[in-house]
């Protein structure tokens, strides 16, 4: 019995590590995507231009849009980058003329934190709910079961699996 519980405990621990890995690794990767800075001029221009809305298009960025005005805005961004302006300063330049609407993703402050934070909060809450539900279901399972030799149980599982495939 104790040996069986030991097996469950290590399976559970393995799951925890696995879950943490599943959760952590994408975060780390995503952080790397957006933490990198580019020093090549054109790359920098494209990076900044991709955060600005092409004002004459529907939902395209200044970097992607094929329109004439977008090309001129890209030229303007290039000039501002050459003058040594930072990304924030260039954003502020356009926002002071066009309003917040020209930023293609909402700046992370104030009310906008809702749209940045709620998705991850929702996942966390959902994950927690799944854990609680799974635990409840585990507890609902009949508590009295004869102890099964785990090696035997594995063999049964394997044979069942093979049979399932036939």
């Amino acid at each position: 019995m104790i040996r069986r519980m030991g097996r469950w405990a290590s399976a559970r621990r393995a799951t925890w590590w696995l879950t943490l890995g599943v959760a952590f690794v994408p975060w780390w990767g995503a952080a790397h995507v957006y933490g990198a800075t580019n020093f090549d001029l054109e790359d920098r221009v494209r990076e900044i231009a991709s955060e600005l809305r092409c004002v004459v298009c529907q939902n395209l960025s200044v970097a992607d849009s094929p329109s004439d005005l977008a090309k001129e805005m890209r030229n303007l961004v290039r000039e501002l980058v050459r003058q040594g302006k930072s990304r924030e300063e260039i954003s502020a330049y356009f926002v002071s003329r066009y309003g917040e609407y020209v930023l293609l993703s909402p700046p992370k402050r104030g009310f906008n934190l809702l749209v940045w934070g709620l998705p991850f909060l929702a996942i966390a809450v959902g994950g927690g709910a799944v854990y609680l539900v799974a635990r409840r279901w585990t507890e609902q399972a009949p508590a009295h079961r004869p102890a099964i030799d785990p090696a035997y149980a594995d063999r049964v599982q394997r044979e069942l699996k093979d049979r399932e495939q036939q």
Partner: protein, 659 residues
């Protein structure tokens, strides 16, 4: 004449569908078989009437009868016949007619097929399906009449938007609508189950194939839309997180969650409420999608029109949500499942986690889509929530889902032991790590790319391993050859292996998405004739600029020669199309599509005298893999839903062949 006749036919069809719904309900409650029979006939008559209306409008389009305003707005005398046909769904009124026709066709098919098998619930299924059909007919009869006359009759029509006069227009909307309307069938069965209180798993089994086929069409429609976008729109991308694109993606997410979690309900009779909520959400999101497209409250490339139609759709959405959620709440006591699990670590938990992530992505997309509206309501300012936001938030979630796709199928139902985990995951993890290491050695340094590849290799590893071990076990047990064992495996347990093939397709598409976005190379250069630009291994030479008249527009294009090293590879002719009654020109991109990478050229701006042209060239590596992945998904679904009888015959034939 067609105008009044068509409108009248729609009016009749509306009456017929209302009768079919009401008579079915009355017949079921009063136990009157004659009323039920009559209501079934009404379903058929309704189908005939709506089909007649379709024919009338198509006839008017093909004959260029401009006395009907819709024909004048969506076709011209000079259009090719197939675009006249496609003009039927070119804008609002006609697209609703197409939807109504598909809805009425599907309800007739369902009634014909299932009436004998499920007598108790069918009247309500029929009532719900006919009710939905009646709604669309109502919209057309009173608010968006496709047969409205034109005064005065114009000599020629305005024509479809030039972007839509392509063969893609014949495919994309149909695929999407087949998906959208297809989801109404499991929804109707779910509602019927709730109304009648017959809450056993019958309704799942009845509609499993419908749901998967509808999912297939929706997936096909989304992939096709991306492919169309990429080849035509001229910005080199395939998905812009436009509100209407999001509106097609959200039901896809909930439908995918539904397809997975019903497997738990089938085996363990758990999650009944959740599954009903999922199918309700799926159908509601479908209606939300049509609402967004037709109401004009969010600006979009796809938006049709504004006007009272939007309010009517919102009313219908409210009705659907309140009615279905109300029913679920009403029956919730009887829906409590008896869930039993031996361990928190089990396939059930993996499926639940899958649901959480899929719904999480759906929630994110929904939030991002309506957040500008919410901000305006609360703060009074307008903001944008666009591509950078959606990409940033969905990438981590997508990667988590990817990992789960590899882990899920390998954990046992009920419980997973450490041995189980170790045996199943060790090899794929090793493969994935080796693959990532190999890529590192080959020069891939970006962390997110390595990460995505690790996850992709892991999933591919699990799928391949699964196929390999099972095939080997079967071959050993039955003495068949390897290939025969593999085929038999596919055909016998097609649900599992069809599903694995679908997962494989998804991974291939994700590899395509990841590589093409991380390794995209872009150059925009202004060139004079004979000047060249270098991009990657290619040299692109701008030869000259030409202009020519086409039947419907003026085309200006640049002649480019593409060289690799010193050998001429191909010629590209990106251009711009100038239409007489359009404000801005439409890009006409040209590209060399190849399984390894696409070389894509756009003509940005040019001097009228041809002295210079600004060309934007991009290399999109492995872009084709996205579309290939879509094809593999299609294959997997076909394997999963092939009918049993045919399969049994095939396996018998396989067995009688010498090993």
């Amino acid at each position: 004449m067609i105008s009044t006749l068509g409108h009248f036919v729609l009016f009749l069809a509306l009456g017929m569908s209302l009768y079919a719904a009401a008579a079915a309900i009355y017949g079921a409650r009063a136990g009157r078989e004659d009323w039920l029979g009559s209501s079934r006939n009404a379903v058929l008559v309704n189908l005939c009437l709506v089909t007649l209306a379709m024919f009338l409008l198509e006839y008017a389009l093909i004959a260029s009868d401009f006395s009907i305003r819709y024909v004048a707005n969506n076709s011209t005398r000079g259009s090719l016949t197939r675009y006249k046909i496609a003009g039927l769904w070119g804008s609002l009124e006609g697209s609703i007619l197409l939807w109504a026709w598909l809805q009425s066709l599907f309800s007739a098919l369902v009634v014909a097929r299932y009436t004998d098998r499920h007598r108790a619930v069918m009247p309500y299924v029929q009532a719900v399906l006919q009710g939905i059909c009646a709604f669309f007919l109502l919209v057309m009869t009173f608010a968006a009449n496709p047969f409205a006359p034109a005064f005065p009759v114009p000599p020629d029509g305005r024509g479809l938007n030039p972007l839509l006069e392509v063969t893609d227009m014949l495919v994309h909307p149909l695929l999407l609508y087949l998906g959208y309307v297809g989801f109404s069938v499991p929804f109707a069965f779910a509602m019927a189950a709730l109304i009648t209180g017959r809450l056993s798993e019958e309704w799942l089994k009845n509609t499993r194939r419908w749901t998967i086929v509808a999912w297939l069409f929706l997936t096909g429609g989304i992939f096709y839309g991306g492919w169309w976008s990429y080849r035509t729109l001229g910005w080199g991308g395939y998905w812009a997180w436009d509100p209407v694109e999001n509106a097609s993606f959200m039901p896809w997410l909930t439908a995918t969650a539904f397809i997975h979690s019903v497997m738990i309900q089938e085996r363990k009779r758990m999650l009944k409420v959740w599954n009903l909520v999922l199918i309700t959400l799926t159908f509601s999101l479908v209606i939300f999608g049509t609402f967004l497209t037709r109401s004009g409250i969010l600006g979009s490339v796809h938006a049709f029109a504004e006007g009272p139609v939007g309010m009517i759709f919102l009313g219908f959405l409210a009705l659907v949500l309140l009615f279905s959620l109300g029913l679920i709440a009403y029956r919730s006591d009887r829906l409590k499942g008896h869930g039993e699990l031996d361990s928190v670590v089990s396939r059930e938990s993996a499926f639940l986690l899958n649901n959480v992530i899929l719904i999480g992505i759906c929630f994110t997309v929904f939030l991002g889509t309506i957040f500008p509206l919410l901000t305006e309501a609360i703060r009074g300012t307008k903001i944008s929530v666009g591509m950078p936001y959606f990409n940033r938030v969905s990438v981590p979630l997508g990667m988590a889902l990817l990992l789960l796709m590899g882990i899920g199928p390998l954990i046992a139902w009920g419980r997973a032991s450490l041995n189980n985990l170790r045996r199943n995951f060790l090899k794929p993890t090793v493969v994935a790590a080796a693959g990532a290491a190999l890529l590192w050695a080959l020069g891939v340094r970006q962390a997110e790319a390595l990460l995505a590849f690790f996850c992709c290799f892991f999933v591919i590893g699990t799928i391949v391993l699964e196929f390999w071990t099972s095939t080997r076990a079967r071959a050993a047990a039955t003495g068949e050859g390897f290939l025969q064992a593999f085929a038999a495996l596919l055909l016998r347990t097609r649900r599992r292996y069809g599903g694995l093939i679908v997962h494989l397709g998804v991974v291939i598409a994700i590899i395509g998405i990841a590589v093409s976005s991380v390794y995209k190379v872009e150059h925009e250069v202004t060139l004079k004739p004979k000047e060249r630009l270098e991009i990657g291994p290619y040299t692109v030479q701008f030869n000259d600029l030409q202009a020519g008249e086409r039947p419907t527009h003026i085309l200006v294009w640049a002649n480019l020669t593409v060289l690799k090293g010193n050998t001429a590879l191909t010629e590209l002719h990106p251009g711009q199309r100038f239409y007489p009654n359009q404000q801005t020109p439409f890009a006409s991109v040209d590209a060399r599509y190849h399984w390894s990478e696409d070389l894509y050229a756009i003509l940005s701006t040019f001097e009228r005298d041809g002295s210079s042209a600004t060309i934007k060239v991009m290399i999109n590596p492995m872009m084709a893999w996205i579309w290939i992945g879509g094809g593999v998904i299609l294959l997997g679904v076909l394997v999963a839903v092939l009918p049993e009888r045919r399969l049994a015959m095939l396996t018998v034939r396989a067995k009688t062949q010498p090993a």
